[in-house]
């Protein structure tokens, strides 16, 4: 795979190093001469000094044959433009932009960026997963939808215990996909009765998450 990385800061540097280790062809574009020299010394002759948002720099980097262009500078507007020029002018197959403002995600997708990475949201997600008392944690969000796979740990006094799935007033667009009972997966039917200790893996939309969670709250 040929990857062009726009921005040779910490993120760009380590991303480049890992991609090289995995056997990929990599070019890092960095505008500061001193930083570009450092990257060259550490990673070899894979750095191009220039502005990644300028067409001539991307042309020199060979953007038209890039499998992926990843823009990881510290500024959302720069990352947007790098990806857009790579995609629209050079036909780069896939563009990924780092964003800082979470609300820019939908804008970037609308403007043709293939994927966004948002450190703020990643950290929020990790925090949610690490909070010990939360009875529900998101496992995965499906591509660019609002559909989430969530894991619910029922408290021992959950009001759902002893009820069958068909008797649970599930919120819209939500269903229980699988139960882990004693560590073994159980694919439930409407007649399956929830027991203390069950772990529930469910699909839902982000907006219905609180309603789904409250179904399994303690009484």
């Amino acid at each position: 795979m040929y990857a062009i990385i726009g921005g040779g800061g910490k993120v760009g540097f380590y991303l480049g190093r890992e991609l090289i280790t995995q056997g990929n062809e990599v070019v890092i574009i960095e505008q500061l001469a001193e930083r570009a020299e450092y990257i060259g010394n550490e990673l070899g002759n894979i750095v191009l000094k220039g502005n990644a948002d300028e067409a001539r720099t991307l042309a020199e980097a060979g953007a038209e044959r890039a499998d992926v262009v990843i823009a990881v500078t510290g500024d959302d507007e720069d990352n947007l433009v790098i990806c857009q020029v790579a995609k629209k002018r050079f036909g780069a197959k896939r563009t990924i932009a780092r964003i800082n403002e979470p609300r820019n995600e939908s804008l970037f997708l609308m403007l043709g960026i293939d994927a966004t990475i948002n450190a703020t949201e990643v950290l929020l997600g990790v925090m949610e997963q690490q909070i010990p008392n939360a009875n529900m944690r998101p496992l995965l969000r499906l591509r660019n939808t609002d559909v989430e796979i969530v894991e619910l740990r029922m408290p021992s006094n959950s009001r759902a215990i002893g009820r069958s799935l068909r008797d649970l007033p599930m919120p819209p667009d939500s269903n229980v996909a699988v139960l882990l009972r004693g560590g073994s997966p159980l694919f439930p039917t409407g007649a399956t009765v929830l027991q203390a200790g069950d772990e529930v893996i469910a699909l839902t939309r982000a907006e219905h998450e609180p309603a789904l969670r409250s179904l399994f709250d303690g009484s």
Partner: protein
Amino acid sequence: MFVVIMGCGRVGARLARMLVKAGNEVTILDRDASSFSRLGEDFGGQTILGNGLNQDVLEQAGLTRADAFVAVTQGDNRNIMASQIAQHVFRVQRVVTRINDPIRSDTFAALGLRALSPTVIGANTFYEELTGDLASSVGDV
């Protein structure tokens, strides 16, 4: 016509005063409160302090009902991003973007934006004043 201007530097401030004088409604926004002093005390338009890349700020500036949006900050990429928000999120009919660096003009063209470069306009004007020839006769430099 109701015009929202992003960037209250020399160009933005002068443009705002011209538009107001010609009878237009103008809202101008900038991240730096002190920049509004360029407008003078008798400015007849609205000023909004905030980041024009924030959609809430643009909405507060009235972009949902604006007839035109002009991005004239010093940052080319800021201008490009804000202009695309105006075009695609708020569906503003007329969007004009300042490009400082002429090398990037092809970028703007590729993104379908209407862009003007003060650098090119300035150099052309000086060339014509000095030589008496049309700047367009020189071609690309």
